[in-house]
Amino acid sequence: MLEAQGLDCERSGRTLFRGLTFSVAGGDLVRVAGPNGSGKTSLLRILCGLLAPTQGEVRWRGTPILRLAEEYSRDLVYIGHASALKDDLTPYENLDIACRLASVQVEREALVRALDALAVPALPVRKLSQGQRRRAALARLLLSRGVPLWLLDEPFAALDAAAAAHAEELIARHLKAGGSVVYTTHQQAALDSGARVIDLAVN
């Protein structure tokens, strides 16, 4: 259970949001909405602990995330704007490194299967298109089923319809298994109907 208590965020002297309080329980799907520059990415980064809020705190299972540090990191997957893929390595190698860093134990076959499922070619990442890179980054989700909290920043950006549908299905399965997902998106996704919305525009 993730709780945000009275979050204020100020970036370069501008107040993005103020007094944001909400909680995300297991099985919850939360969409962060708002126009460009309203602080959606900042909010996700605060939730995963990369950014310190100006005021307020984030708690995971009742303990402030600052105190949990790596213990909290192990319980979440954050997929940001930047794909965190190395241009010189293949998607397989990238995924392998990502799993090792997150200390997720995976078999070689599971890695290959995850990349195949998303139809990511086995070329160095520099040769991949924007959408293929995004798929390669999302392949991590296939291997992170046991990780309870997913924080996804624009997971559907640059994806074609088939890949977006696949990603939505992954999210749906994760929710059914009791996981929580917080995401931002500009595209209309079928998922949105089931999501609770945090609208940063009205804040």
Binding site: C48, G49, L50, L51, A52, A69, E70, S73, R74, L76, Y78, G80, H81, A82, S83, A84, L85, K86, D87, D88, L89, A98, L101, A102, S103
Partner: protein, 206 residues
């Protein structure tokens, strides 16, 4: 290592800078022997400097650094591993090649060992302190020049002790004092630098 050229540039830079001095100041053996240790050490500082910019910059640009900060391992351990990797690529080759450079300066045979030992103890300190500079300048414009301005003054003790140990040995005295002080610097920086780098990286990714 998919970019072999990156590793080679630091080493070649060291060799070329160290080779320019004999060509520039002339082949007077006594003069070369006197400036040799200092020049080799300054060249080592500059070549370490050269590769520091790449330590975190690429990871910062493609988002890997965020994932490292969110990794299951403490960030201090991860950045320590990166500093060790930097030393293996940028520092260790200098230690190996240094006796060959010493030949150009007509240093006496027993000094080769002292020079290599001083570099072996000193270059990891350069990587560790350099990592602090690289992390502090993340995302800043003109970061490359800033790293030099931040880090070079901090390299001064290493330079003095490193070059001093060889000069001591050349004068026929025991270099162990300087080498022990270098070892002490290494222990202190190995203990505290990763922590400082981790803090700087966290500020950088924010």
């Amino acid at each position: 290592m998919r970019r072999r050229s990156d590793a080679a540039t630091a080493l070649l830079f060291f060799i070329i800078v160290a080779s320019l001095f004999p060509l520039g100041v002339g082949a007077e053996p006594n003069q070369l022997r006197a400036i040799g240790p200092g020049v080799i050490w300054v060249a080592a500082l500059l070549s370490t400097m050269l590769s520091l910019g790449r330590l975190f910059a690429a990871d910062y640009a493609d988002g890997t650094l965020e994932q490292l900060a969110l990794g299951a391992a403490p960030l201090g351990v991860v950045v320590a591993a990166k500093a060790i990797a930097h030393w293996l690529v940028a520092g260790l080759p200098l230690v190996v090649i240094a006796p060959l450079i010493a030949l150009q300066y007509d240093l006496e045979r027993p000094l080769y060992g002292v020079l290599a030992a001083s570099l072996l103890l000193g270059t990891p300190v350069l990587s560790l302190i350099g990592a602090i500079g690289a992390a502090l300048t993340l995302g800043l414009r003109g970061g490359g020049v800033l790293i030099s301005l931040l880090v070079l003054p901090l390299y001064v003790p290493v330079l003095i002790l490193g070059a001093g140990s060889v000069a001591m040995a050349a004068a026929g005295l025991a270099p162990s004092g300087q080498l022990l002080l270098l070892a002490a610097l290494l222990v202190v920086s190995a203990a505290f630098a990763p922590w400082a780098v981790a803090v700087a990286v966290r500020i950088g990714v924010e």
